[in-house]
Structures are given as structure tokens and as C-alpha cells.
Symmetry: D3
Subunit: 336 residues, 6 copies
């Protein structure tokens, strides 16, 4: 039995330099489709859930490409509407070793960022689903984005659909307009049952600093969030230590109101693609939540799925349930 | 002895589907740098002339890529300034057979289109040169573009530098703002010594139709242009018949005040890349003009260079003077 | 308003040599997903129709790949079931000039070919649809294939859904078992409203030769088919003349009981991929039939869509309705 | 002076996803030719030995490809016969980091697996050679495979040619038919002078468990094998610890009746291709045996050659004798 | 029954720009192995003959590459010796349309060109063969090359092996040293039974001009050659008309002392690779000669095999006997 | 304010196997332009300096390619002259893991190596510059190379331009002719203000061994060099420990007459391309020297720039000043 989930957010095209090249050295760019919420949708669909994406894309070949990639991942795209306008893009200069990858956003003025709540039929898209997933990127896009996120949240509340909210704080986006991120985000969080975010995100929401690396600080932050947001039931987060572009160390944690599970740290080497790994974490956590599992299972699946995402190219995690279940942090030889 | 030329215009990145793929089928896009005036600059540099490009590019990897490609073509880029902002882009869905290629522009709001005459030092860029080349694309970008083109033309006039103006009429651009193309373009043409454009361009400029395919109509149009624009000395144009995406038939023509040369028509098959072929035609014509050749030589070189451009990928013609001189419309076997 | 269509048949992986290489010269093979009925489904979905595919694929990565590609084309894959077993494959050695492409089938014993009618829920898959499309390949797979095709046809009859049957006669498949193709195929044709096939297919069905190239012979064959199959309303066919691997000449024809429309012949040059062009023809014809158009429109759209298919790689035609409507047999320049 | 060796076994085509992609993400597959015994043949040929392969391939382009690749490696293919039928295939989904690679076999019913001893002229193929190499994969293919392996072994005995037998136990293959692997394998081992296999393989052969990681257990297993198989002179094995898909630790060991040599463990990082590394180990061991070297040299060369194999793509090790001799486990900078 | 042939000549590496790119646009070059005589060897081996190549290559990876490619084509490389030194190279800038491909040779001072007759064991290489094939390229390499060609011819005469000599006149090579091509070539031709060359080659050999395009002139030239070279039995030649880089028209002809066969002209379009097509012609002619066929069959097979070579990449024709026998100048659809 | 620098040396084409392939496995080679001094020029230009290259290239496409690549890097190529002759080449067989990369030089007899001082206008090229950079490769090319290096040094002395000399000792080159490297190199070093080289280079120059790994030995060597070369002000060097092909450990050091700065050692993993990293070190050191920074800044920038070079493909470091300034040896996550 799989869970029905609706994700809401923008779909972007990623144009990345191949072979660890600098942009100045590249005569072709790898074309990949992503976007935080679409990535979560793709991950959940790859894990066997029925998932709808609510989004808006430009009319024409670029929008066709984005829609096709989302459908290829097994996501229902009937709620992806189309309109004239431009596609949201980002460029990726792929790093290696001690040269970090770098992203150049070119998403301003996209069809999605310019749309209004009336362009979406949230009620239909939420009919019969068990979860709405959205993220802090949509409100960061501007006043229109805030209205979109608020409308989605309101519709979910009306429909009695629980909400998962991924902080995904992007300073660049919030700074590009006359914004008040704390007010907007805490407003949206009032309705959230699940939060994807760590103590830094909570610091930001509550205007109180919970910096530091100990488990105590993390629990302190979680307690504060549970107090501030009465509907909140779970907080899922990762802790990432970057050694170099291909070698990270990651641990995961899920806090509930009455407990917490912190995983062991995993050495992630040979990283193929780091983009979308946070969204894969969310998908792994939600996968177990939809199965009714406990917080330990949520944290371990989130960790496993994000680690597996590092091993494949693209924004979306396409790894299936079989590989998730077979995951071992101590590696394994070729499977015959 | 080579001629010193200054070209002024926007540089764009082209993102094209490889292998005749539709966008929806493409997992990578070929990255090429172009732009009408930069293409003319590259062609003239490949033919051995000293050429400067005056332009403006975004700070960052995308602008670096564009600057590097222009420099690789042998063009002096010291007058290409840099500023924060976005890069002008266009996407190309590559056609084949009876499916034409199609272009999706995404150039609105670029650094170049948002710049003002004060951002350029035209006087320095025109110092000691024998020709300024610009096109009708710059004024089509909007009121800022008009101001840029007018400022460039005014500077050339002050410096006594002859002007070559390529019509390059792009209805989509002109239609996207409250424009009066005829007024703007005829204003700019007042200062032109050389025009790249056919009887349809002249019709558009003079508000008088010279449509039809005979040589008489073309001469009639040329006569009207020479009358309307007293400084105009040469009008260079091509006539293109499209059989399919890889097979065109092209002839060229140069009109002077007292004569005309019309070339034979050439069968152009196995077309590798049609984009930039008009700019290669301009480069071929100007190459001979800079050498002091007559209109027959101008027309033949323009034709040969545009035909050769069809045989190589990319917006810029990188074919050298040796191949131009060795060109034969009746083909040739492998050269050992 | 778009038509709801159900297609039933096997999905295959195609492994093709790139760059006109011989197999012996290839270090990689291009991987494409196809199959006659899936191709028709993809074409109709690209043209805006709601289409379901009924099929069966192996559990595991190869089946995942096939399902994903069908979904990417916009086809509903909820009726594509999965089972342990092998994937149907074919290898393609890509030709050029006067060296024809050649196909090596490796599809025997596939999950689909080994399945039984009970493995499919035809009633559900046909609920609310306006057409069932299937082809002569399924019964050619063996006794199991015959049972599958017969069950699909029977279910459509029970549901009152009209049937389109594409002859797709593959001698190699029929010859590989103790088969009686005429008996099987005429049985299936008893229920068909639309037939995709020419006078050679009809000759084969009726055991009467209608060979020869004149329009009279074609009409004679059509009359015989209309007499033999009382439910048959339309016969759609193409006539293809092969000049070389990249240059064919194609005309199309649709016969109804009281009329016929024969198109002009189109020169198709620069052929990128010939595989799946017959399926694109069927999709073009059915597209107009679903729109309620007349036989002239059906024949012209079939011709246009098959010609456009030759211009893109892959088995499935992904060209959209816009390009179909803009099609011109006299070519066209880059669209800006 | 190089040794003449005959290898007997099936040649397969490998179709692998490129760039650490999942199958579902791949639009092309890398085509490589391999097979355990062909890989040993290629390794020995690359190291300067004269090697014949005895095998059977399908008529047509796929068989041509396989034969050509074996010949390209310097192996004599005159004893590779051809017959109608299908090619043995396997698909490889290439792993990375903590996602292991996985193999999907599609080799059932291949021309080789369906052949009989009469299809091969073992006597001619063994004329004048110093060693016959075969493996436990051939008998695992089914009753036909058992007959093939037994016939090859019998012919070698008749010709007085020593036999090297690589266990290569593949449970999947043995489990797919009503097999008795221990009886078959111990029968074949009766004639072996050299065994490639570790204490787990010996456990399997003798029905006695020698599990555990100490050198003592390994020697105990070797002693048991030497007792069970009177003609056996050398047992060569590796011990592999998998850290992740690109990082293994490997040591090698050769036991003789009166001694053993165990190498130090080598850190193998940056693994390019793990497939065929066991066969490269066998080739390295046999290379020194053919040169008349002692067990220490055999173990060290086996280790070095398997480590070097990890650094190049493809099933076959193509590294030459110069690189083998220059191998250093402590790495080395670019050689100029 | 296949014929045993020995070919003697240099093997080169070809480095070609991909995708019709200019060298200045290329970031990779396609690596192909060829050389006139090795190409004939590969063609004959692909057609089922047993062929040995006598040549000399540098020690190291470049020589290994060349040897491996020749072996991959099925040619016996045991007479390809190795020595320290440089590899002969050529670069190819791939043309398209009306831009011809151009070759840049970089073969001076290669291991082969620097070798002496003592470096080869011609007697062993000619033992039991029915034909020695060599070409005018070897003597053109310099005094050492002349000595090599003369030694090969002398050895063939001693062994009673008929000689096929392909003119392959390369002015650039002959002009680079103080050469007397006519003296050298007529000397070598004294021993030839078969000549590959047209009336222009004969003009050059005899110092008498047989230029002009009629069949009469060709026969006149043939008669003169038969008179000048008493052992000569067959003269095989092609007539090629170049329309553009991808479209040639070719006819073939074989003259014997008492007759001639001239084929119809074939339209060769969609040319993939023109290099090596002359060698494929020779292979096709010799294939039938080895089968004891008449001059009509020799000419038709030469024509078919050269036409087929145009349809595949690489210097060597790898097309097999099946495709040669199935060749049709009127094209053909996909073979299933 | 940027510094004006002139670099003098040969430009080479590099032809490298892709994807960690052996040469024998490669069907294409990656084409890259480099050369020790051109690499330093490109690095300095990428860091914002105005740099001229003085060199000589063959007429034709290969020389065009080299010139274009140098210009693309932002280097002024007006002092790169052209002449008939051959291009200097090198082949790279790309290593992985414990298989080192290996280089095959094919540069003998190149246009540059055959040129004489009169072919260059050193006076013009040195006009107004603050530094001349050259290396020990030029004199190693032969007597002509020695004359070239000596002429460049003499011209710099006449113009009062300080000289940076990079030892770059290549035994293979010096050993290929009757050379006396110590005499030549110490002669050139008499004029150097900056030396790039370690205690081993100094040992070689002074005929005194300073081997060993301690900082004391390095300072001892530096003191000896400062004594031997009175104009010498700075000695910059790296110490590299190779773990495997993708993992090195590097530290840097700059000695002045009255002090030294030794950096911490950096772990460099995921190495993409090791070639040219020494030249990037020189560029980083000179970048800070041109900015008037102290030896600590010189050493740290040299280290950072060489480490960054390991993360991008190609001989030339194209990393910009922004990335250099942001470099952190403790890595960093994706920059958004």
C-alpha cells in the first residue's frame, strides 16, 4: 500500500558543466530537470508512492522537457499547468576536490514565479491525498510566491491534509526583494505537521540562536520549535561535514515531541552529484512516515536515501525501494 | 595588410539540442557563443583582419565563457566590459529534413540590453579603425538599445569611420515593446556607407513594397535606398531558397550606385549549421571591401563565405582565408 | 477535447550503433525504448490525447527504464504490469547511403511474450476509452501472443470500443513457430473498424494478390477488404520508395467504404531515424479520426506525422501538435 | 619466450550504464566484450603470451563484435566457431560510493550454452600448448555446459596438458537447473594442476566449512584440497575487503603443497571497473607460472595485475608486461 | 575456401575532427587506424580471406593501438615487428557540403619509414600465400621506402607469388625528397600481375598522357600499360565525380589483355567517410580475383565494396561478405 | 592594477585518452593545448594580468588550434609567429588508482624547436613588461633551444626586465642530444630573479646533493643557490607526496635571501588532471609577487592555485581570482 502525496513548487532546468569542467572550458552542458519539491515527488514515486506535482511551466519545448522528466520519474503531472513565459534556469559549474561546485541562478521572472493562486486548483490536487509537501523556496520567490505558498497551505488545511514543510532557506532569493522571511515562514509553519530543517533553520524561524554542534543544542532547538508550532509532530534534519567535493560525512536525526533518533555518521565518498540530496533525505523520511514507521526508521531511511542520492547524477533521486532496503553503510561488492 | 574593424553588439550563449534531437529528448545541450555582430567580428578575424568587439557581459562564469569564445576567434576583447546581471541566452531545437530548427529567445533583461551609452567608450574603440559594423538587433532590444545604437553611430560619425549596417530585422524583438522600427532604422541608416539587407529590408525601411523575385525589383529597391540614404555606397544581399533543413540554394548580390553584381546560385547541401550564415555573408563582403576589391569580388566572397559557414558548427565562421580563396561551388575531393 | 485511447502490445529496448557505425566498430550503443503499439501511444500522447498503454515488463532496471520512457512520452502506464523474466530486445546496426540498417531481434521468451490474458485487466484498461489500438506483432509472437490479441479484441467488443488494427506483418516471427497467420489475422480483423495496412497486407489476409503500384489496384484491394471485414470503416496506408538510407519518397492514402484520399508524394531527405515511422503514420491518422476529421485530413496528417518522425531519433514520435499543424512539404527556414 | 595457453569458455557482451547512471537514466550503454575465460586469455596475451580461445559465437554482427574484441586483445580466435542463435548478454548498472554496481544476466539459451562437445575440436586447440584454462561457469550453464567442461578436461588429459581451473562459483546459474555442483566440480578438479579459488570455494567443493579470516584457516583449507585432489599443485586466491564502490583492499595468496606466500594488503582506490579483476588475478598468477617463477612471484604478480585491472575500463585487462613489472603499491607520479 | 594474401605497408594513426568541426573548434579527435595496405588487408579479412600484414610499428601504447586495430579486423599481425621510434600520424579536418576534408600528414621519420629490408622476413611472410599486395606509398617515403618496396617485390618473385600494385601516387611525398618516381614505379610494376590505377596513373608511369574521360582513352592507356609491363594481367580503376563532400558518383572498370568491363555509375550520397574507399575498391576486386571470378565480377565487387565503405566510419572497410553480396545500387529499406 | 608579463616557450598539443582508458582502448583522444610557459601565461591571465606569449607555431589548422586556445585563455598572441613545419605533440595515457598516467612525447623537429633567435622580436615583446617567464624546457630541446633561451634572457637583461626561471628538468630531452645541462642552466640562472624549483633542481644546478626531506636541507639548498646566483631573490617550490593517481599531498615553500615560508600540507583528492599543476603553482606565486605581496602570500597563493588546478581538466589553469581568494584547504559545500 502506497501513500498519496501532493508536492507543490517550481520545476527548473539545470545546465551543468560536464567532466568537472569550468564553464569557460565547456562546449556542452548537461541538462537535468529538478526543483526541491519536484525532487521530493520523484523520490517518493521512485519508492513506490503515488505522487502528484502541482506546478506551472512555460508553453513550448523547455516546458515540455520539464514535464516529461517529471513524468518519467513516475509522478502524476496532470496538475502541472502551462502558460506563456520563461523557464526558471540554473547553471552549475561542477566542482572537484577542493574546488566547490557553484550555482548561478537565472530564475527571476519565470512563469511559476509570476503566477497567482488562481492559476492552480489546489482543492482538486489535494483530493484524497495523505500529505502536502512544499518548501521555503516558493515564498522566497517574491510576494507572488508568498501568496502561492499561503494558498497551498490554506487549501491543505481546508482539506484536512497534513503538511510537510522543508525550510530550504535561500538567502539570495529572500534578499532580492523587500522581504520579511521570519514572518512569512513562521506563518506557514503554523500549519506544518512535519518540518525538514535543522537547528539553524529553527534559529532563523524563532529569532533565537541554537548554534553549536552538540545533540543537546539540537534537542533544545527542537523543543523550542515544538512549542512555537503547536501542530508540529516531527522535525527531520541532517548534519553534514564537507571534506571535499566528493567526500562528505552525514548523519540524520528525527525529533518527535517525546523523543529523538540520531543515526551514526556515514562516510560518503565518490560523490557523483550533491544537488538534490536534501530533497532525497526528505523523501526517505516521508517514505517511512507514510508507511507508519517510527522516528528511528524515518531517520535511517532518510539517511540511506540521501546517501544513495549522492551516488547518481541528476537532481531527482531515482533509486528504488529495493536498493533503499538493501542499503548498507559498510558498502558492498558488485551484485550478481 | 589587414583592415581594422570595430563591431558593436550583444554576445549571446546558444544552447542547442545535439543530434537532431527534440528538446524533450535531450540530456545535454551544445553550448556555443554567438550574436550577429560578434559573428561578423569572428569571421573578419578568421580572414586575417584586426577586429575589436565592443560589448558588455555579465560578471561570472557565463560572461567569462562568452568573452573567451570571442577571444578564441582572434577578436580583441579589451572593449568588452563586464557588469553584474544576466546573460542573454537562446535555445535551439535542431531540425532535420522537413522539420525546421526553431529558436527560443531568452535574452530579455540581459546586461547588454540594460546598459547605457555611458557604459562604453566608443571613441577609444573606434580609434584608428576603418569600419564600424553594427546591426538592427541592438535598437530592437528596446529604448536602451536604440540609445546604444545611436550613440555608436554618432561616435563613428565624429571619428569619420564608415558604417556598415546589417538590417537583421527581428519582428519578435520590435513587437515586444512600443517601438517605431522604421523611424529608428532609417535614422541609423542615414549614416551607413554599406547596408547588408535585401529588397524586403528596404521595403520595410522605406514603407514601399519591392516584393517579387526578379533582378529588376531588386535593382529598383536598391535605387530607392540609394536615393533615400545619401551616404550609402553598397547594398549586399542574398537570396535563399529552402529545400529542406539541410539543403538550401543561395545566390548573392552587391549593388553600388552605378552597377550590380549578381552571382550564380549555389546548391548548399549537407548543411551542418545554418545559424550565423548571414553574418558570414557580411564578413565575406566586408573582407573584400577592406581589400579594396570591386562589387563582383565582394558578392562572390560573401557567397563563398556564407556557403562555407553552412559546413561548420557554431554561430561564428572560423574558416580561414585559404579555404575562402580555394572555394569552388562545384565541390572538391579530400585535400591531401 | 482529446480522445482517450488504449494501446496494447510489447515494449522493447532498442540498442543501436551510433554514428553510422557497424556493430563491430561500436563501443557504445544508443538505448531507446519502443514497440509498435507503444510508439502509437507516444505519438497520440504527444499530439495531446489521453492514452493508456497495456503491457507487461520485467521487474528490475530494464523494465523500469522501459516504463519510464513510456511515461516520459505522456502515456499513462498504470496498466503496465511487472513480472520476473527477461526484457524483449532488438539490436540495430545503423545504415547510411546504400548500406541499409539492419535489425537483430532478441525478443524470444520475454515477459510479455510469455504472459497470458489473465495477466491483464482489459476491462479496466478499456473503461471510458474511444479506441483500442493493437497490431499484428502480438499474435505473431506465438500461441500465447495469439491468445493475448484475441482476449484484447474480445474485451473491446464487450466494451463496445472500436478497434484499430495495424497489420505489421513480420514474417520472421510467424515463421518461427507452427503458425497459421492468415487464419489468426482475419479472425482479429473481423472486429476492426480501422486497418493500418496496404494492398500487400490485404493480399496476405485474403489470399488474393493485389500487387502492382497503381491506385486502381489499391482501391481494388480496399474494396475486397471492406467486403471481407464488415465492421471495417477505414484503411490507411503509405507507399514508400527507398532511394537510399537517408532519402525516401512517401505518399499516404486513406480509403473509406465510399471514397479515398491519396496524398501527393513527399521527398523525405536527411532521414535521422526510420524506425517507428509506420507507427507515427498510424498516430497521425488516428489523431484526426479522434478529432472527427474526414479521410483527406486523416491521410494528410498521417503523412505529415510520419515525415516529421523521420527527422528525430528514437522509436517514438515526440513531435507535438503545433509542429504537425505547421508542417509543410516544401520545407522551411529556422523559426525564430 | 612466451607460453602457449588455451582458454575455453563463453564470450559475453556487457552493456553498462555510463557515468554512474542508473539504467533508468541512461540513453546509451557502454558495450564491452568479456567472459571469465576470455578475460584470462586477454590478460595473458597482453602480458606477451600466445593464447588461443576456444569458444562459440552467433553468426552475425554481435558475434563479429565479440570475435573482433578478443582478436584485438591479441588472442588467437581461429578456434572460435560460429553458429546461428543468440548472444550471451549481461547488463551492468554501474554503482558509485555506497551504491553497489549490479548485474542483470541475460545469457540463457545462448549459442555457447546450447552447444555440444562435438562442436569443438579440442585436440587441435590443445596441440602444443602448456596449459588449459577453464572455469566453473561453463558447467554451471546446464547439462550441456557440464558436458562441454568435461570434454575439454578429458581432451587436455589425453594431450597431457596441465589444467588450471577457476572456481568462479555462480549460485544463480547453478540454482537455475536441477544441478549437483559439488559432484560436477569435484569431478573436474580431479584433473586440475592449478586452482584459482579461496577457502570458501574449497568449503563448497569438499562439503566442509573453512570459513573464518585467519591465515590458518586458509592453509587448513588448502591442505584439505591438496589431499582431495592429488594432481593439484597450486591454489591461488585473493582476499577482498570492500569499503565502497571505488575503494577496496586486496591481498593475494598462493599455496603449494609445501608452502604458501601471502602478500601485503593493497589499498585500491579510484576503482574504474571492478568486473574482470578476478580474471586478471588469474592471468597474473599464470603469467609467472608460465615463466617458471616461484609462488611468491605468482602471488605478487597476481595481486599487481588485479590491482592494475581496477584502473582501466572493460572486462579484459589490457595492461602490458612493462606496467606490471613497474607496479608499485605506493603509487607513482605521471611518467614522462 | 579463402585465399591467403600478404599485404606490406605502413600503418598510421588518423586523428580526425568529429562532427564536421574545424580543428580550431575541436576538443577531441577521433582516433582511427589505417594505411593503404592495412586497409586492403582489413577489407579482405572482413570478406573472409586469411590475410597477413607485414609492417613495423613503434614500441609503446601507440604501436599497441595500431597492432590491436589491425588484429581486430581479423588480420594476422605476427609479421608486424616493433622498434623504438615514432608513429606515423595524419590529422583530418572533416569537411561537409562544399568544404572539402583536408589531411595534414605528420609521418616523416616514422619507425616504418626508417626501417630497412633486413627488419622484415619477407620469405616467411610470403610462404604459402597467393598474392602480395603493396602500393606506391611505400617507395614514396624516401630511399629507404624504395628499398623496402623493391625487397618485398623481389621476395615475391623468388617465391613465385603474384603481385598486386596500387599506384596511390602521392605527389607531396615524392616531392619531399630527391626522387625519380617514374623510374622507381615502372621498376616495381615490371613484376605486377594486377595494377590498381587509372589512365592518369598510367600516364604518369609511361610519360605519355592519356587524359580525357572517354572509355576509348582508358582502353588506350590500358593497352599501353599491358605493352609496357609484360606480366600485367589486370588493371582495375574507378572514375569518381565529386558533387560535394557527401555526394559522389562512382563507376569502376577492370581491363584485361583481351577485354574490359565498365560498370554503371552509382550515386553515392550520405557519405560517412571517404578515406580508405580506394583501398576498399582494391579489396573488392581482389576478393573476386581470389575466387577466380571474371573481370565483370571483379569490377562489380570492387564498385560495391567501395560504395559500402563510404557508409561506415574509419579507414578500414569492415563490411562482410553478406552485405557485399546483398549490395544493390538502388538502395533498400531496413532489414529485419 | 594588473602586472604585464611576457612568457616565452613552446606550445604543444596534448592528445589524451578519455575515461581512464588505455591507448589501446581509445577511439578518441581529448585535445588540449598546453606547454609549461603557455600554462603560466594562461594562469596569470586568468588571474587578471595582462600577459603576452612569445612563441612560434606551424602554419595550418594545428597551429590555428594552439593559437586559438592560448587566446581563449586571455593571453595576447600577437607575438606568436607562424612558419611551415610540424606541431609539437604529446600523448597522454590517463592513469587511475595505482596505475600512473604516462606521457609519450612526439615533439622533436617542431617548428618551435627548429627556430632561431632571429625568428622572434624579443625587444618588442618585452617592451613595458614587468617580468619575463621562461623554463628549462626550451634549452633542453637542443642547441637551437639553448640559443633561443639565451637570446630571450639577454633581451630581458638589456630591457631591464626581471626574469623568472622554472627549472622543469626533463632528463629525456637533455639526454636526446650531446648536452651539458648544468652549464647551460647555470648560465641562464645567472640572470634570474625568481627561481621555480626545489632542492633537487638546485642539486642538479650546483652539482651538490641536497637530497632529503627536512626543511633544513631545503634551506641549505636555497642558501647555496642564493650564493651561486647573485641576482636571485626568490625560490619557490612544492613538495608532493603521491598516494595514488587521484590523491596527492602537497605543500609549498618560498625562500627569500632572508627568510622562508613553508605552508601546511594539503590533501588533494579527486584529482582531475595533474598536468600543468607545476605551472599553476608558478602562476600563483607570480600573481602575488606582481601584487607586491610577501613570501608567505606567494607560497600560499602558489599552493592554492596548484591545488585548484588539480580540480579541472586541461594543461592551463583557468580558475579565476575569485576562486583563488575563496580557496580553503578544508573544502566547502556547493556555492549558491
Amino acid at each position: 500500500m502506497t501513500g498519496h502525496v501532493t508536492c507543490f513548487g517550481e520545476v527548473l532546468l539545470r545546465l551543468a558543466t560536464p567532466g568537472h569542467r569550468l564553464m569557460v572550458q565547456s562546449d556542452s552542458l548537461d541538462l537535468v530537470v529538478g526543483g526541491a519539491e519536484a525532487n521530493v515527488a520523484a523520490g517518493l514515486a521512485s519508492l513506490g508512492h503515488e505522487v502528484k506535482l502541482v506546478s506551472r511551466l512555460p508553453v513550448g519545448p523547455l516546458g515540455d522537457k520539464a514535464r516529461s522528466a517529471v513524468a518519467a520519474a513516475g509522478v502524476d503531472t496532470r496538475h502541472v499547468s502551462r502558460a506563456p513565459g520563461r523557464m526558471g534556469l540554473y547553471f552549475l559549474e561542477s566542482g572537484a576536490g577542493l574546488r566547490p561546485s557553484s550555482i548561478i541562478y537565472d530564475r527571476a521572472g519565470s512563469v511559476f514565479a509570476s503566477s497567482s493562486p488562481d492559476d492552480f486548483d489546489f482543492a482538486a490536487a489535494l483530493d484524497g491525498v495523505r500529505l502536502l509537501h512544499l518548501s521555503g523556496i516558493t515564498p522566497a520567490l517574491g510576494p507572488e510566491g508568498c501568496a502561492l505558498a499561503q494558498a497551498a497551505v490554506a487549501a491543505a488545511q481546508r482539506a484536512g491534509v497534513p503538511i510537510c514543510f522543508d525550510g530550504n532557506y535561500r538567502a539570495l532569493l529572500w534578499d532580492s526583494w523587500d522581504s520579511d522571511p521570519r514572518r512569512i515562514l513562521t506563518g506557514l509553519m503554523q500549519s506544518a505537521a512535519i518540518m525538514i530543517g535543522n537547528h539553524r533553520d529553527i534559529s532563523l524561524l524563532l529569532g533565537e540562536t541554537f548554534f553549536g554542534d552538540g545533540a543537546d543544542r539540537r534537542r533544545e532547538a527542537a523543543d523550542a520549535a515544538f512549542e512555537a508550532f503547536p501542530g508540529l509532530q516531527f522535525i527531520a534534519s541532517t548534519a553534514r561535514h564537507v571534506v571535499n567535493a566528493a567526500h562528505h560525512r552525514i548523519a540524520a536525526r528525527v525529533d518527535s515531541r517525546d523523543g529523538a533518533h540520531q543515526t551514526a555518521e556515514v562516510e560518503v565518498t565518490g560523490i557523483v552529484d550533491r544537488i538534490g540530496t536534501g530533497d532525497a533525505f526528505a523523501a526517505g523520511v516521508l517514505h517511512r512516515w507514510l508507511q507508519g514507521a517510527d522516528i528511528a526508521a524515518m531517520a535511517e531511511a532518510g539517511l540511506a536515501y540521501t546517501v544513495l542520492k549522492h551516488s547518481q547524477p541528476g537532481d531527482m533521486c531515482r533509486v528504488g525501494q529495493g536498493e533503499l532496503d538493501a542499503f548498507s553503510a559498510s558498502g558492498g561488492d558488485v551484485r550478481r
